[in-house]
């Protein structure tokens, strides 16, 4: 395994992605929607407008939260508590869908795209091992997702702390549970999702087919990731650690099986399973 070549494959894929404005402009809009516009609108509505009826309704829905989550809610006023709960328990988990969606979209086109453009032939004749190409592609698909997490949640943190912070006694986000979710629970789910998507990308005959098929495959994974992320945020103690550990084991198995899906003949477009 030559890591230099692996990183070269990843770096080149990312360079091309940066050049593809038609790809990242819509995704930037999607990220902005989830990380900035929707949270800002909701939280400003609650904290600034102070519509008692709305706050009352949202407060009632918070009653369904587990006790472990309820005890973490900060703030003395109903507006502050409601805004805190929304920022930490509702909007943050929803936002994990964004990196998953972005990484899935990148991964879906990565191998079949090489084949469609004819560049797969260059890779097939190159000294790079199939495993190096696979992992390079995996990293290139993960990177935009995690870049979105870093930038998106960076903005989100600033936003919620500025809007909700004064009502709950200062800066509160990210929480410890959030760090666990982002660094321990989310990565294996992303890896599972991508291992399936890359396998599809190696087998199908067109990018369009890869996008369609990966949507079907990745939706349940996204749902699972969302539910587990929510649970990780709601619950305390060992729950997120255990969930993350199980996900890592599944991811390792799925990735190792996925390596076999990338073959030189598939890069050429003449392999089996096409």
């Amino acid at each position: 395994m030559n890591w230099s070549r692996t990183l070269t494959v990843a770096k080149t894929d990312l360079k091309q992605l940066v050049q593809a404005k038609d790809f990242w402009l819509p995704l930037t809009f999607l990220g902005s929607l989830f990380f900035v516009f929707v949270p800002a609108t909701l939280l400003l509505t609650i904290t600034s407008i102070g519509d008692v009826a709305v706050v009352g309704q949202i407060s009632q829905t918070l009653e369904v939260l587990p006790e472990a989550a309820k005890t973490q809610i900060q703030g003395s006023s109903p507006e502050g508590q409601t805004a805190y709960a929304l920022a930490v328990f509702l909007l943050a988990p929803v936002a994990v869908i964004v990196p998953l969606t972005i990484s899935t979209a990148v991964g879906a086109s990565t191998i079949v795209g090489e084949r469609e453009r004819g560049t797969g032939e260059f890779l097939a004749h190159s000294p790079a091992a199939a495993k190096e190409i696979y992992i390079g592609k995996l990293l290139a698909s993960l990177a935009p997702g995690y870049a979105t997490v870093a930038i998106g949640f960076g903005l989100y943190s600033i936003l919620v702390n500025l809007i909700v912070g004064p009502s709950v006694g200062g800066w509160f986000f990210p929480t410890l549970q959030w760090w666990v979710m982002i660094l321990w629970v989310l990565p294996p789910f992303l890896a599972i999702c991508l291992s399936l998507v890359l396998r599809l990308s190696a087998r199908v005959t067109s990018t369009a087919a890869a996008q369609q098929a990966s949507g079907l495959v990745s939706l349940p994974i996204i749902g699972l990731a969302y539910s587990q992320s929510t649970g990780a945020l709601f619950g305390g103690g060992l729950y997120p650690i255990v969930i993350g550990a199980i996900a890592w084991v599944v991811a390792a198995i799925s990735l190792s099986r996925g390596v076999r899906s990338v073959t030189r003949s598939r890069l050429l477009g003449v392999g089996g399973g096409l």
Binding site: S4, T8, Q16, R117, H125, P127, A128, R264, L267, L268
Partner: protein, 423 residues
């Protein structure tokens, strides 16, 4: 003895002696359409007349299309009959017997589902020579290249490149020593030329210190320095091919595999590319080029390999193969009417005689002296207008081989042994 170098004394019908110099070897034959019939057919004579006209009208300027071959480490004969002829480049017997092969394919078979791409292919690519894989579309040329680099694995049979198996753990070493230009340039359109070359430099393991220098050298070699910072998507087809060639030689490969490298190029660019291909063998590189364009292979190939239906129909040094098919001396004669040449049918030493209009093609015994024949005709009052020794071109050879194969093969796949035995 090469008849091209002869000045044949001609005696006109009136008894005057005149000198008739045949077309000089450097003549630059213009590209021509592929004849519909192989040489030897009577209706080929018509096209021969055209050829006579062409040869007569050609100049003595050195060819532009195929510049003289640079000195190769493998000794080659200096016999050079010019670009239009099979004797253009003649590897010495010692080179042929050296056994120093870069590529060996032995009984290789490859199928894709129900489609058989390669059938019992045996291939030998000698080091530091230009070998040309010829064949119609679908003959298996591209698949052969893919098998050589290990991009594809043979179903059965063995491939050996540099003495290594490309499908084993040695595959990385094999691919590192190969440079490939595919029929479609396979470049990254969203990246600029520099990034495309840098990607190859990184994948092929060039050091950070060497890479910039090599990239610049390769870009200069293929005259694309000014375009390096432009996005490849905006390149012309010719520029893309040049970039693909630069990328292929960047890491100084020992074996260069070119799959129809002039596909889609204008004549000037194609000429330039072929010149570069020739230069590459000057420092010991082995070149294997696939093409279905006979004109491209002619004058360039040290060895030709003709593929058909995934099998090696024939391979060898072009002029040796030509000798196998045309062992006797053939001369084309033209007079005002042509009928006065019919006396040659019964002449001693004439093996075959064909006439179409005023031009006759005469096959003579190897020992025959063409000058004597011409003198005899002149003495008998025949007014010769032209005496053209027949030099089979690669096109002639290719069509002859394919015709013979089709005649000898009642069903697909049955005639290879016969064909090989014949030669």
């Amino acid at each position: 003895m090469d008849l091209h170098y002869l000045e044949i004394p001609l005696i006109g019908a009136d008894g005057d002696l005149m000198a008739f110099r045949t077309t000089p070897p450097e003549a630059n034959l213009p590209p021509r359409a592929m004849p519909t019939n192989p040489p030897g057919d009577s209706d080929q004579i018509g096209s021969t007349s055209e050829r006579l006209e062409r040869r007569r009208s050609t100049t003595t300027e050195p060819t532009e299309l195929y510049p003289p071959q640079a000195t190769s480490p493998t000794p080659t004969s200096t016999v050079d009959a010019g670009p239009g002829h099979l004797t253009a480049s003649k590897p010495s017997p010692s080179a042929e017997k050296s056994g120093d092969d870069t590529v060996l394919l032995n009984g290789v078979n490859k199928s894709f589902g129900d489609v058989t791409a390669i059938t019992d292919l045996n291939l030998r690519i000698p080091r530091a020579q230009i070998s040309v894989l010829l064949g119609p579309n679908g003959a298996g040329k591209t698949t052969a290249i893919r098998l050589i680099t290990g991009a594809l694995t043979p179903d059965t049979g063995a491939a050996t490149v540099f003495g290594l198996s490309p499908t084993s753990e040695d595959g990385e070493e094999v691919r590192r020593r190969c440079g490939v230009v595919t029929a479609k340039p396979s470049l990254y359109d969203r990246l600029n030329g520099q990034d495309n070359l840098q990607y190859a430099a990184d994948l092929y393991g060039l050091s950070k210190a060497d890479a910039p220098k090599r990239i610049l050298e390769a870009a200069e070699q293929f005259d694309i320095v000014d375009a390096l910072n432009q996005q490849v998507g905006g390149y012309s087809t010719g520029m893309k091919t040049r970039l693909a060639l630069a990328r292929a030689v960047l890491h100084r490969p020992d074996l260069l595999l070119l799959d129809e490298p002039t596909s889609g190029l204008d004549p000037e660019s194609a000429h330039s590319v072929l010149s570069m291909v020739r230069e590459m063998t000057s420092d010991g590189k082995t070149v294997l080029m696939c093409t279905h364009l006979l004109l491209e292979a002619e004058g360039l190939a040290d060895q030709i390999i003709i593929l058909q239906n995934g099998s090696n129909l024939l391979s060898g040094v072009p002029d040796h193969l030509a000798t196998g098919y045309w062992p006797n001396r053939i001369v084309e004669l033209r007079t005002a009417t042509g009928s006065d040449l019919d006396q040659l049918k019964s002449r001693a030493g004439t093996i075959s005689y064909e006439r179409d209009g005023n031009t006759a093609r005469v096959e003579l015994e190897t020992t025959a002296n063409v000058a004597d024949l011409v003198s005899e005709l002149a003495r008998s009052g025949v007014g010769l207008e032209a005496v053209i020794p027949f030099e089979p071109t690669l096109e002639d050879l290719y069509l002859r081989i394919r015709r013979d194969d089709q005649l000898a093969t009642p069903a697909p796949g049955g005639s290879e042994t016969e064909m090989t035995a014949k030669l």
